[in-house]
Amino acid sequence: MTQINVRVDGVTYTDDVEPRTLLVHYLREQLGKVGTVIGCDTSNCGACTVHLDGAAVKSCTVLAVQADGGEVTTIEGLAPNGGLHPVQKAFHEMHGLQCGYCTPGMIMASVDLLKENPDPSDTEVREGIEGNLCRCTGYQNIVRAVQQAAGEMRGAGSVSPAEVDTAAAPHVVGQA
């Protein structure tokens, strides 16, 4: 067992961990941070993405001991005090999730992407979240959500819900 000190979502924890314990297992099993999930065992899916010292990492690829002295943000701590981060809001607005299993990782990866590139093109978003798999959405609404959030975070104003409503419907023939 090794002792680690780590700050997670604003709270400092001191814990004994096995040297082989992965950060994601530490978060889920020792801290009860079950908002972060596991989707694979080969670091391909990105479901476990959190921020370690401000950068997105796949927490199944980091040992808990490597986070010693570090600062971790999970989906549960992304927006403090029950608020929503613009990216969370945009995923909701643009229907960027269905089952929601990939969503915490997808949101954490997208936040990181927007830090690097505040105004990404469609292709840049797609390439930027390439390490996160979603089986439900076909990604189009995720791309929309990331761009919507980018707009809001740049202060460029957001697509208003009313506009979005009609955007979803113009192809609908014959239904009011």
Binding site: E18, R28, K33, V34, G35, T36, V37, I38, G39, C40, D41, T42, N44, C45, T74, I75, E76, A79, L84, Q88, F91, H92, E93, H95, L97, Q98, C99, G100, Y101, C102, T103, P104, D122, V125, R126, E127, I129, E130, N132, L133, C134, R135, C136, T137, G138, Y139, Q140, N141, V143, P161, V164, D165, A168, A169, H171, V172, V173, G174, Q175, A176
Partner: protein, 831 residues
């Protein structure tokens, strides 16, 4: 369409149905406050790890668990022998023929293993890590038997057997012949007289549903009662089946599906691990949890598709189709699971597609092989059918020198011919294929792309362009119970809902359809808000727990809205009818003089005399002033059993670039127009289409479960099983036409599977259209660059994936292992 317009103008403009409501479900999902099964922790909970067979076919000669038993943290180790008397067989609910052979499916193998990954023992330990560590310590001796891996070989004379105790590898032989069914001419006659016959062999590769949330089960015993939380699509079916299999009485068993991270048919199952978890919890009297790894999931959760299709189409020279004959080999894998045999049979009535065939014959053999069992995967039977018909229509068009769209137009059912009874005996409810096609052509920019295709062809551009068409329909809304009965399915196809009017005017809607990403909570709220006139926010939808929602048949087959939503609407109508009696009493008026609109009953001609349904809920709770002889409740429930399937349809178009030098394919543009009937929530409908497209395109381009010559799954991680990322998929241009389904009060047809069913052939047809002039007439899915290149430069369909070598030599056949190729891998090419 006029029906829709009339209705739209006749009703109040403030309808919830049709609004792009943001989903109620999202709040917990985007903040990580979810209840995935694996999140559950119970006091004293033990953890399970499953010891699995590393070989495809063998007798188990001995198992030594002593070392595992002694490992730190291990509480118990159980083998198949230990539970042989209580584990029963994993149930198959769909004996598609009276003489179907079912070898039986122990949850833990007892004497024999029949596929790699089959459970041979289970470790119970204090922690997950301790359980997993002990897996290695179980020592199993196997007497190897030859593995049956190829369906065509499996049905040949003198083939090796998948199961020693069976006479052959055939489970069933299912036949539909229109001449015998009285739904058309005899197929032999049609073919005898035909001017043109085109025959093809298509391969539907094996796929893996690959839901993102790995399966997980938690069981808590309380005396002789058990609660099971499972990441399942079908808590209701699971409860019934577990009771039948394990003998735990149904009323002592509660099954809960909490938040479930996708299913796509892959969680429409009663799994060995669910049975094992229940048995262990019963035996030890302690709560247990099992959660799979991704590798375990890909290897052992059921697979999908896997058919070889021999298709013959007959036509005259003018392009009028005369007959269709389909012979199908469908791989069941090693065992029959819940609806394994039913999957190809769901396609049996769909190979004829949207076309007016005078004669049709479908013959299917269900085949056993030493591989993971197959079962439902998004579309289940209908993607296979749609692929075959939409591919063979293109082949016929080439043979006749006709434009593929022109050939389709000549043969499809015209808008004025609905309802139309097909040669397979299905009554297609409504639609207009021409309008959907016109719209799709516009969305794609068809004419410009055709012009570009000509330019590239003339200039001999190394990158060629092709356009693929798929005009499809599917049978959805599973299903009329009577029809399921006639097909020998073990259950009905109804769905149940109830509505509870709470004293404060809030509304609980209980649904038997259990969602796992489809947005039932939002859509059902929209339905009820319209019918009851209560605010969307005042409605809570409950589901997925057999003690809260006691009756239901769950979510699959695009049935939730069509059947489950219909039950919700009918329950709401009953609530209104009950409330009307109370309103009449309270307003001292006759029921006949009451209008109900916007959630309020008012007395016609007496302004101000009104009472809201939410006020009536409180009055009913108090029951102080209630009509004589009426029970004080306005709650209601309803069970809806559809009369017919519903038949969504659409036109999908794919423009594809093929680099003839590298074999790389790239979707240039994808456009589709789907008719899924009334749209309750356009955002959710669009999302379902997108997700469906992703999976259908992935079948065409990326995904394949590959076994090596020893029966090892070589695509057992996300490194090798290529679920596409955002960068692999194009933007989709989607649209809708709306023809209401006449068979349910909503008018919806179902949308969950449409994108998957329609897209695969559109993509393959597009690639072929790009390189047809180079002599290519088929390319095997998935269209890997290697296959496309081989098809262009070597002929044939590009052949098996070059991973058919054996893992014993390091898996994939690469240059370094080429020298150790096996008979299978040496075949390569076109077979």
């Amino acid at each position: 369409m006029t029906a829709v317009e009339d209705r739209a103008t006749a009703e109040a403009p403030e309808r919830e149905v049709g609004k792009a409501r943001r989903r109620k479900e999202d709040a917990r999902l985007i903040t990580g406050r979810t209840t995935w099964t694996d999140n559950t922790v119970l006091p004293g909970m033990l953890h399970l790890a499953v010891v699995r067979s590393p070989v495809a076919h063998a007798k188990i000669s001995s198992i030594d668990v002593s070392a595992a038993q002694e490992a730190p943290g291990v509480i118990a180790v159980l083998t198949g022998r230990d539970v042989a008397d209580e584990q029963g067989s994993i149930p198959c609910a769909w004996p598609v023929t009276p003489d179907m052979v079912n070898p039986g499916h122990p949850s833990i193998a007892v004497d024999e293993v029949n596929h790699v990954g089959e459970a041979v023992a289970v470790i119970v330990a204090r922690s997950k890590a301790a359980a997993q560590d002990a897996v290695e310590l179980v020592d199993v001796d196997y007497d190897l038997l030859p593995a049956v891996l190829d369906m065509e070989e499996a049905v040949a004379e003198g083939a090796q057997l998948t199961h020693d105790h069976l006479e052959s590898n055939r489970s069933f032989h299912f036949v539909f012949e229109s001449g015998d069914a009285g739904t058309g001419q005899h197929t032999d006659e049609a073919f005898r007289d035909a001017e043109v016959v085109v025959s093809r062999r298509f391969v539907q590769q094996r796929l893996i549903p690959a839901f993102m949330e790995p399966r997980s089960v938690v069981v808590q015993p309380q005396g002789d009662n058990y609660t099971m939380w499972s990441s399942t699509q079908v808590p209701h079916i699971l409860r019934i089946m577990l009771a039948m299999v394990t003998g735990v009485p149904e009323h002592k068993l509660r099954v809960v599906a909490p938040d479930v991270g996708g299913g796509f048919g892959g969680k429409l199952q009663v799994t060995p691990e669910e049975v094992i978890s229940l048995l262990v919890a019963r035996r030890l009297g302690k709560p247990v949890k099992w959660t799979e790894t991704r590798s375990e999931s890909l290897m052992t959760a059921h697979h999908g598709r896997d058919q070889i299709q021999y298709i013959d189409i007959a036509a005259d020279r003018e392009g009028n189709v005369k007959g269709l004959r389909c012979r199908i080999l469908a791989d069941m894998g090693a065992y029959l699971r819940l609806v394994s045999p039913g999957v190809p049979v769901l396609g049996a009535f769909m190979f004829n597609g949207i076309y007016k065939f005078p004669a049709y014959r479908f013959e299917c053999d269900g085949i056993f092989t030493n591989k993971t069992p197959t079962d439902a995967y998004r579309g289940a039977g209908r993607p296979e059918a749609t692929f075959a018909i939409e591919r063979i229509m293109d082949e016929l068009a080439v043979e006749l020198g006709m434009d593929p769209l022109e050939l389709r137009r000549r043969n499809w059912i015209r808008a004025e011919e609905f309802p139309f009874t097909s040669v397979a005996g299905m009554t297609y409810d409504s639609g207009d294929y021409e309008t959907a096609t016109q719209k799709a052509l516009e969305l794609l920019g068809y004419d410009e792309l055709r012009a570009e295709q000509r330019r590239r062809r003339e200039s001999n551009d190394p990158v060629q362009l092709g356009i693929g068409v798929s005009t499809f329909t599917e049978m959805c809304g599973l299903a009329p119970s009577r029809v399921l009965g006639s097909l020998s399915y073990g259950a009905g196809g109804w769905e149940h809902a109830s509505i509870r009017m709470l004293p404060t005017g809030k509304v609980e809607v209980v649904s038997g359809a259990t969602p796992h990403g489809q947005g039932h909570e939002t859509a059902w709220s929209q339905l009820v808000a319209d019918r009851l006139g209560v605010p969307f926010e005042d409605i809570e939808v409950l589901h997925g727990d057999t003690s809260i929602s006691p009756r239901g048949l769950d979510t699959y087959g695009s049935r939730s809205l069509v059947v489950g939503g219909a039950a919700v609407v009918n329950a709401a109508e009953k609530v209104v009818a009950k409330a009307r009696r109370v309103a009449a009493h309270l307003l001292e008026a006759s029921e006949d003089d009451l209008d109900f609109s916007g959630g309020k009953f008012s007395v016609r001609g007496t302004p101000g005399a009104e009472v809201s349904i939410q006020e009536i809920a409180l009055a009913t709770f108090a029951a102080h002033n209630f009509p004589e002889g009426v029970e004080p409740s306005i709650d209601a429930d309803a069970t809806f059993d559809p009369e017919n399937f519903s038949f969504p349809h659409g036109t999908h178009l794919c423009a594809m670039e093929v680099d003839t030098e590298t074999g790389m394919v790239k979707i240039r543009k994808y456009a589709c127009v789907d008719d899924v009937g009334t749209i309750v929530n356009p955002l959710i409908v669009e999302g379902q289409i997108h997700g469906g497209l992703a999976q259908g395109i992935a079948q065409a381009l990326f995904e394949e479960a590959v076994y090596d010559a020893d029966g090892n799954l070589t695509t057992g991680t996300f490194v090798d099983y290529l679920v596409p990322s955002a960068a692999d998929l194009p933007h989709f241009d989607t649209g809708n036409t709306v023809h209401e389904a006449p068979g349910n009060p909503i008018g919806a047809k179902g949308v969950g599977e449409a994108g998957t069913i329609a897209s695969t052939p559109a993509v393959v047809n597009a690639a072929l259209d790009a390189v047809r002039h180079l002599g290519v007439r088929d390319i095997r899915m998935p269209l890997t660059p290697e296959r496309v290149w081989r098809a262009i430069h070597g002929g044939g369909d590009g052949g098996d994936r070059a991973t058919a070598g054996t893992n014993a030599y390091g898996g994939a056949q690469t240059e370094t292992t080429a020298g150790v190729s096996t008979p299978q891998s040496a075949l390569g090419g076109d077979r």
